[in-house]
């Protein structure tokens, strides 16, 4: 698929869903116009011949370190759960678990 510089509102709507960002129609139109400007800038890349060039993902070409398969962390569940978000004033924690809206009936 060849990239398009000028995004359609439908593209933006799809990206907003993938990014988990709720957005109304006015927001989608504003985002479309700004993203189109940014992608026009990004499009300058397409003129470059990069055949035979290896992608560079990190500045230093180092491999991941390995470590012994032993427990190094201590359990800090209570500390970490003490900062859980609140819903209608109460922390969304129960029995050491995080509370979210029910997914499965």
């Amino acid at each position: 698929m060849s990239p398009t510089i000028f995004l359609a509102n439908a593209d933006v709507r799809k990206v907003a869903i993938l990014a988990r960002l709720s957005m109304d129609e006015a927001g989608i139109e504003a985002a479309r116009s700004q993203l189109s400007g940014i992608f026009t800038l990004i499009e300058e890349m397409q003129a470059v011949d990069t055949r035979g060039i290896a992608p560079m993902s990190h500045a230093q070409d180092v491999s991941q370190r390995l470590r012994a398969d032993t427990v190094t962390e201590t359990n800090q569940r209570e500390l970490f759960q003490s900062i859980a978000p609140k819903y209608q004033g109460s922390p969304q924690i129960e029995a050491g678990l995080y509370l979210v809206p029910q997914v499965i009936e």
Partner: protein, 484 residues
């Protein structure tokens, strides 16, 4: 006292001429007086700062003090600090009190430094003017109608206005160097991997690097000595021998070869900045350096490449903010997906959402090769340009930013114009090289101009040497904004 170097402050503390509690209180009073106008700090906590100062005074009294013991340092609000509200400039983390310390914070704590407060910044470090902060814009201490730069704008303003002895920043595409230039201070982004990213809230992990911001190269060297070092909790932290970044400060510059990239002095650079930077290069020649023209032919592509790679990494990193375990959760929602979408839509600001959208798009099915992979390939070309250039020179110099500080709101509606203010700094992050900015004079409207010094990998000591020798011969770095 507010104009003393870190070395002088350390000596005064160790000699008992002033206590850390007294010094910290002086800064807290100055912050109370000036911060309402400048907005350089998001959070201060006098009780915690003074408790640290008392502990430092104990270390000073019992002879266990180190170089930075008792010195008040401002921490960018991107570093998690245990017990401190850590917002990253976002509504998403408005009430987040960190349960742990970032490596950088731990290093300063171990050194006995005092955490003076958390500095303002662009939201999630995404911005070049500090205008994307949820906690309001920061004013440039040299002209309060102008931006301080970003994203470490609060840190730069705090150093310039003497609201701290020194500060920390982070730099993903220029976020230490550009605000340092716009506020007339010195700032250093080390080689990628030199300072641990553990506990530093992630923006673009393959580019993010923490570094010091201060009033002189000498101070930067002292701070980097405390910040650098291997940390197993960051998978990209480099295992290297500990080094003293101040070791070469006093070396003469005879024979230093300075590379000037012709692309950095071309169209787009303000005349005032060009003239000021050229005067600085002339000063370097007087100090014994020689100059050679070099070329970084792919550097013009660094902005488009960066605006693919950084948002791609950000869209992944920021997926953790879902309203479940910490941070903002929307007050009303219908189901799980609605909770995610509303929490993120309400918790993130416009620029952060824009970059998440860019990143999500370039990583989505059908576009990955054309955008993400192509950008990674050009990233290698950009890095290779530097490798070639360093065959001809020891350091590269040029402007840090194309203009001096612009007016608040001036570039607000045009993200592309804002992105171009990092045109000279981004390539350095893509290559993973160390870069710094030091004050070298004043341009239009009497606003500070920054000289950028780019070094080869792990050449921070040589860059600091070059900067320090310039600062011995000139006094731009000791100028302070008037009327504060």
């Amino acid at each position: 006292m507010f104009n003393s170097s870190l070395q002088q402050l350390g000596s005064a503390l160790r000699a008992g001429q002033i206590s850390s509690v007294e010094l910290t209180q002086l800064y807290l009073d100055r912050i109370a007086a000036l911060n309402p106008a400048l907005n350089a700090y998001i959070t201060t906590d006098a009780g915690t700062s003074l408790a640290q100062a008392r502990a430092a005074d104990t270390m000073l009294a019992n002879g266990t003090a180190q170089a930075l013991t008792g010195i008040p340092i401002a921490q960018k609000d991107i570093f998690c600090a245990k017990g401190w509200r850590t917002t990253c400039g976002s509504k998403m983390l408005e009430n987040f009190v960190s349960p742990y310390d970032a490596h950088v914070i731990g290093q300063f704590n171990n050194a006995g430094a005092v955490n003076l407060g958390k500095t303002n910044m662009d939201e999630f470090a995404m911005g070049s003017s500090n205008e994307t902060s949820y906690f309001g814009t920061v004013k440039n201490p040299w002209d309060q109608s102008r931006v301080p730069g970003g994203s470490s704008g609060g840190a730069a303003a705090a150093v310039a206005a003497r609201l701290c002895a020194a500060a920390t920043g982070t730099d993903t595409g220029g976020s230490i160097r550009q605000p340092a230039a716009l506020c007339g201070i010195s700032g250093l982004k080390p080689t990628y991997g030199v300072v641990s990213r553990y506990g530093m809230i992630a923006f673009a992990s393959s580019l993010d690097q923490a570094g010091p911001m201060a009033r002189s190269a000498e101070d930067l060297a002292m701070l980097l000595n405390a910040m650098a070092g291997f940390d197993e909790r960051d998978s990209t932290s480099l295992q290297r021998d500990k080094e003293d970044y101040a070791r070469d400060l006093s070396k003469p510059l005879d024979g230093l070869r300075i590379g000037l990239p012709k692309e950095f002095f071309a169209e787009g650079l303000g005349n005032d900045v060009a003239q000021t930077v050229e005067a600085a290069i002339a000063e370097y020649k007087k100090l014994g350096a020689s100059v050679v023209e070099i070329s970084l032919p792919n550097s013009k592509l660094s902005v488009p490449v960066y605006y693919v790679l950084a948002p791609a990494e950000a869209s992944s990193n920021l997926s953790r903010f879902d309203g479940v375990r910490y941070g903002y959760r929307a007050p009303e929602y219908t189901d799980l997906a609605d909770m995610y979408e509303k929490s993120r839509a309400q918790g993130f600001g416009a620029e952060v959402k824009r970059r998440i959208m860019i990143g999500t798009y370039v990583l989505s099915h059908g576009y990955y090769d054309a955008y993400y992979l192509q950008a990674q390939k050009i990233r290698r070309l950009i890095a290779q340009d530097f490798t070639e250039a360093f065959k001809q020179c020891d350091v590269i110099m040029g402007p840090t930013a194309p203009s001096t500080a612009f007016k608040l709101g001036e570039k607000g509606d045009d993200p592309v114009q804002m992105y171009l203010s990092d045109i000279y700094t981004i390539a350095v992050n893509l290559a993973g090289l160390p870069g710094m900015s030091i004050p070298c004079g004043f341009g239009a409207n009497d606003m500070p101009v920054g000289l950028q010094i780019i070094g080869n990998y792990f050449d921070e000591a040589r860059m600091l040497n070059a900067a320090h020798q310039y600062q011995l011969a000139t006094d731009w770095h000791s100028r302070a904004p008037q009327g504060l």
